[in-house]
């Protein structure tokens, strides 16, 4: 089987979209029960070309287009999983997973529990999410919070090319449903691919630091790292934690980091109110109470519908806004 990417040796750089494609290929090669379907994922290879060549190389039976109906896609995936398949479905854009919400919340998340484990659902739901690509309305939502608040689902999101590969392979191998949030803004970012990485549930410390901890995931990890660089110039030594997996949540790594630094800033694109950052800030505040030198700050999107391209720069967490938050961490008490 000659896959587009077989040419790409480990050493050369590939994009995050290519890493996802590679993970799908390797999983489909490793297990014939893995099938990929969704809107335009076949001949077209997906609107982001993430499934490029899969139909050509694995055939219509392994990667196919569906009618235009997200609940139908999700329900079909659930039925196929009940019969022993491992479907990987694509929601074309974040906001277009909403029609499938009932199938996700009432069935995908609950089937194992309702059947005492007799009907596990090894389904991976790929959701390109987030903004920063100048998308028109409904094309830049960050919907992770809805899934994070739904017990029975795993919610993971890569921030690096290698995590895109390793987390997706792990998600496909998981016997539980996994919502795989793909930061679409990073699809074209390139890096070398490392095909081994930590398991689902483990956060990664992307940068060691002693003064404060920046907690981010997916698209904002890069911003956090840039902010840490800039802060270094201003004399702050910041640690950056990339959650990688929101459910399960890596309390050990996050708590250890904040107890060490005594300060924390939580960063994500989704609206702040009721967002995932609220959970992170709440548990950090509770678990690190006696270690905290300052309140945990959140740098998030505003509590508004995702804004249009011309205004999204105001909405997205920026290096400046992160630095402002860091500056507000009551250093005077030092």
């Amino acid at each position: 089987m000659t896959a587009t990417l077989d040419g790409a040796a480990q050493s050369t750089e590939i994009s995050l979209a290519q890493a996802v494609n590679r993970a799908l290929r390797d999983a489909m090669t490793a297990d014939e029960k893995v099938v990929v379907f969704g809107e335009d994922v076949g001949v077209l290879g997906g609107v982001f070309r993430v499934t490029d060549g899969l139909t050509r190389d694995f055939g219509e039976q392994r990667c196919f287009d569906t009618p235009l109906a997200e609940a139908g896609i999700m329900g079909t995936a659930i039925g196929m999983a009940m019969y022993g398949f491992r479907p990987v479905v694509e929601m074309q854009f974040d906001a277009f997973s909403y029609p499938a919400f009932e199938q996700i919340a009432s069935h995908l998340a609950k089937m194992r529990n309702r059947t005492r484990g007799a009907l596990p659902l090894p389904v991976v739901v790929r959701v390109p999410y987030g903004g920063g690509i100048g998308g028109v309305e409904h094309h830049s939502d960050s919907s992770e919070g809805y899934f994070v608040a739904t017990p029975g689902l795993h919610v993971v999101t890569p921030a690096t090319v290698s995590d895109a590969y390793t987390l997706l392979r792990a998600a496909i191998e998981s016997d539980d449903p996994v919502i795989f949030m793909e930061p679409k803004r990073l699809y074209w970012s390139k890096d070398q691919l490392d095909t081994v990485g930590p398991a689902i549930g483990q956060a990664a410390v992307r940068r060691q630091g002693t003064d404060a901890t920046l907690i981010a995931y997916g698209p904002t990890v890069q911003t956090a790292l840039e902010a840490a660089e800039a802060a270094a110039a201003e004399g702050y030594d910041l640690e950056v934690v990339d959650l990688r997996s929101i459910v399960p949540f890596d309390d050990a790594t996050v708590t250890a980091s904040v107890r060490k630094t005594g300060r924390a800033v939580v960063i994500h694109e989704a609206a702040g109110f009721g967002g995932t950052g609220a959970e992170i800030a709440a548990r950090v505040s509770e678990r690190c109470f006696h270690w905290l030198e300052a309140p945990v700050r959140r740098v998030t999107g505003f509590d508004i519908p995702y804004p249009p391209p011309k205004l999204e720069r105001h909405h997205l967490p920026s290096v400046d806004r992160i630095l402002d938050a860091v500056a507000s961490l009551q250093w005077e008490d030092r």
Partner: protein, 379 residues
Amino acid sequence: MTVLATPDKTGSGFPLGFDAILDPSPLQYLDEHGALSGALRDDAPELDPKELLATWRAMVIGRRFDVQATTMVRQGRLAVYPSSYGQEACEIGAILALRPTDWFFPTYRDCVSMVTRGIDAVETLTLLRGDWHCGYDPQRWRTAPQCTPLATQAPHAAGLALAAKLAGDDTVALAFCGDGGTSEGDFHEALNFAAVYQAPVIFFVQNNQYAISVPLAKQTRAAALAHKAVGYGMAGVRVDGNDVIAVRRAVAEAAERARRGEGPTLIEAVTYRMQAHTNADDASRYREESEVDYWKVRDPLARLETYLKAAGLLTDDVVAEANQVAEELANDMRARLGEEPEVDHRDLFAHVYAEPTPQLLEQAAALQAELDAESEGAR
């Protein structure tokens, strides 16, 4: 190359053809008087006495189950019970037409069909009893957990059928659905997927005329629910849902079509919900007794019985045996549903994921500590 699809008006080349689908007179073999009404269809089936008696026996047992469940919900032994009294031709005819290897997707209404499938009566009632899981092993019985969110099981059936087709198995999936359920978007998406993929699935709509208090006339303007098949390019059949012979035949034919690779079928079975929606409902608020009377005389069990008696098939010992088995079932339900089901608080966390998350482990430990403290206090 895009050319406009151009079947002729009769839909020849279309599964079953438009005329058959659009014919509003339901397929019927036994009229309400229990007489063969082959008139309605010239191809009267050769009726196998053994099969007829087995069907009748299952209906006797199924009805007994339903009556007993209704009694026990009144006694507070079940949290809720949606009766299918009077719908036995559907509940039983459909199931008996399937193979054990076929998959079945019941709703909360379909306990009788599950018992007919062979699932233990108490296991069948686990959910309605207020336990936390479906009670039986779905894999063993090829029966999905009873589905409550309406029509959401329909796409599962389509997906499972597609999977079976891809796997090269000759498995067929059958999903039950109510008349009200046909209004949900998931019903539409399921039928469309099934048709596009020519999945071996049967969508069996029990049109019992009501969705809780909402009558069919407020649910759809279609002349018949079976007509919806036309819009998906699939076979559609309207059957007298109180005629078990017709139901069994319609499902068997649909299953054969599916196994032959000719895709899905939508079956509308015209029947009636004799009881209130559930024990918690008060049907007198929205329908006349006279309406119920109209359907009493169309009782599916009585109808078959009349025919079997006339045909001299219903011998005393056959009747005695069936009634005895039915009574034993009722006694068993009385005894076992009388006991409180055992529930274990640890099960709250055991099956949310293959491996509990660290967060769940913390929560399970906290609950355990609370309960230990309580029992400490108790001592």
